[in-house]
Symmetry: C2
Subunit: 341 residues, 2 copies
């Protein structure tokens, strides 16, 4: 018997649920731990001296499929990247599915195949999962939560609170590709047909940078809220100002054109395969070379530096224009591109 769409019974804890788990989830991204069928996966612990890294993210993007990726690839990459920002080796993933009654099984299969591919690329194992089915009209086809565990080597202490005056800020590639791609798909806009999402696992890129620039202060991926929100978070955590040189920030012309047409600020558009890194100045060139040597870092650039804050106005991020003037780069306030990650 073959189910064409997701039915309420697939989430009921009985034989139908066993079937969707065996035929869809385990068949695509199964692991030894998942196959054991216990309620919790039993996993090898870190070596002595290592610590755990733990993060979670839920993915609610529509459309589910877009140039450069889909919700399954995003669900793996998003959590892998969050765990990797701690400098951890990313090891294990959970996958929790919220399926809407009537979701086509063929689309679910494609999403799951994509989870498998992305997990293999990142080198992580899906070891535990959960399946819920909600009534028609109470979801959006599929929502996916992933949680990830990594192991942090002894002596590695990355944090957004580590940035110091004089440090250098890098970005691993062009801004805005993911957000503009998804938005253009959703709105059926034709200006960006040559664009695709940058969704990618960046744990290997981070490892490359750490090998070349061992005193890197922190990594953070500028997803929702874009580069502007990420830098404002880091500035506040570290109690510093940050200055970004607009002309040094890589942006594809098509993305810039779309932003101008729509009135979006590219610094607030979401990315899913880019990494911000702050390093001490003497390791900046090495970090840049390491990024550029990675398949996902070809367009990496040094884009700015950390400066001292003026106590009377708090921690600010500035954008330095081509004319040498500075404007404040604010955190996104409300909603720019809804639900794109």
């Amino acid at each position: 018997m073959k189910d064409e769409t997701v039915l309420l019974g697939h989430g009921s804890g009985g034989t139908m649920m066993k079937r969707i788990i065996d035929d869809v989830f385990a068949a695509s991204y199964g692991s030894e731990e998942l196959a054991q069928g216990n309620d919790a996966a039993v996993l090898t612990a870190p070596a002595p001296g290592e610590r755990l890294s733990f993060s979670t993210d839920t993915f609610v993007v529509t459309p589910h499929f877009f140039p450069g990726g889909d919700i399954g690839r995003l669900a793996v990459c998003g959590t892998v990247n969050d765990v990797a920002t701690s400098g951890a080796e990313v090891k294990y993933l959970s996958v929790g599915m919220v399926l809407e009654e009537g979701f086509p099984m063929e689309e679910l299969q494609r999403v799951c195949a994509s989870i498998k591919t992305a997990a293999e690329e990142a080198g992580v194992h899906v070891v535990t999962g959960d399946t819920k089915v909600v009534n028609r009209g109470h979801g959006d086809g599929v929502y996916i939560n992933t949680a990830g565990i990594g192991f942090i080597p002894e002596g590695r202490n990355l944090s957004g609170a580590n940035c110091q005056v004089g440090d250098v800020i890098l970005i691993s590639g062009t801004l805005g590709d993911h957000g503009i791609t998804v938005m253009s798909q959703r709105e059926d806009l034709s200006f960006s047909t040559d664009l695709k999402s940058d969704a990618a696992p960046l744990n290997h890129l981070i490892a490359d940078v750490l090998a070349a620039a061992p005193d890197a202060r922190c990594f953070r991926d500028p997803t929702r809220g874009g580069l502007a929100s990420t830098l404002n978070e880091l500035a506040e955590q570290s109690g510093v100002d940050m200055v970004v040189r607009e002309n040094d920030v890589p942006v594809k012309p098509a993305v810039l054109g779309a932003c101008e047409m729509l009135g979006y600020d590219v610094f607030q558009v979401a990315n899913e395969g880019k990494m911000v890194c702050v390093v001490p100045p003497e390791q900046a060139e090495a970090a840049l070379a390491a990024m550029r040597g990675n398949v996902y870092g070809a367009d990496a650039a040094i884009i700015g530096q950390v400066e001292a804050s003026k106590p009377e106005r708090g921690n600010k991020v500035f954008l330095e224009t081509g004319f040498g003037s500075r404007r404040i780069l604010d955190m996104l306030v409300g909603e720019q591109l809804p639900r794109i990650c």
Copy 2:
């Protein structure tokens, strides 16, 4: 400024999201790790020789509030119990929220307060989280995913595959309280006004049983699919039959009455604060006493035993009636009580 309802901007990665995190999530169930504001929580690893236990669950129950609990309490207890079935000390939780635009902030506050209370009772820390807001009509107020990490002591190897012929089956209390309570609330049925959900963290109960019955084979909580599905899973994993004596299974008269009126099989109704345990016969009385000594095990009972399977008919679960006859207790096939956990 105070937000009365959840708005799309609360999930956008900018200042509104920062506000809901600070004012609602961190203010209720915040921890030191959550306060650090990094993308991944950095956590102490297990001691040498220990292993990790990892599980996840998403909660989509409606109504969100019901006698004996709410979706927040469920979200903590469900994952704590799954992790605890491995014999682990449960340590860390992630909380991923999918909020529907327009969800009342006051209800979210109550859910979060409940998460705090349940986490404190279980002794776990919420160390990382995520917030997404979906458009009106694409959710059901609030969906909550939790993932949990525990540490398993050296030498402890619990698994559903461990059951042996002659082993004894225990249940920690009455069947069906959660499922019937939620269903009666949803359908506005009055027959069960004295009932309440059993939602509870059972990690301490499991620890008590393991101290008294160190050779316990496995634990599993009979949630979706009920006791029937749980025992069928264990029978298949271990390659055995299981026999349950109907008269020994504790069920509240009001639950039994509701099941009879509605045509439900109480063995397939969900529980959220009950634990099945299989132990070698010589440790059964000690395990029972340990359960009964725990606040959530007062009605615990020995309900059956593990028997050898007949190869020609696979692994079966039988219900032995008061008259000594046996009927097959099947796994739930489709849907009995939708989305109650």
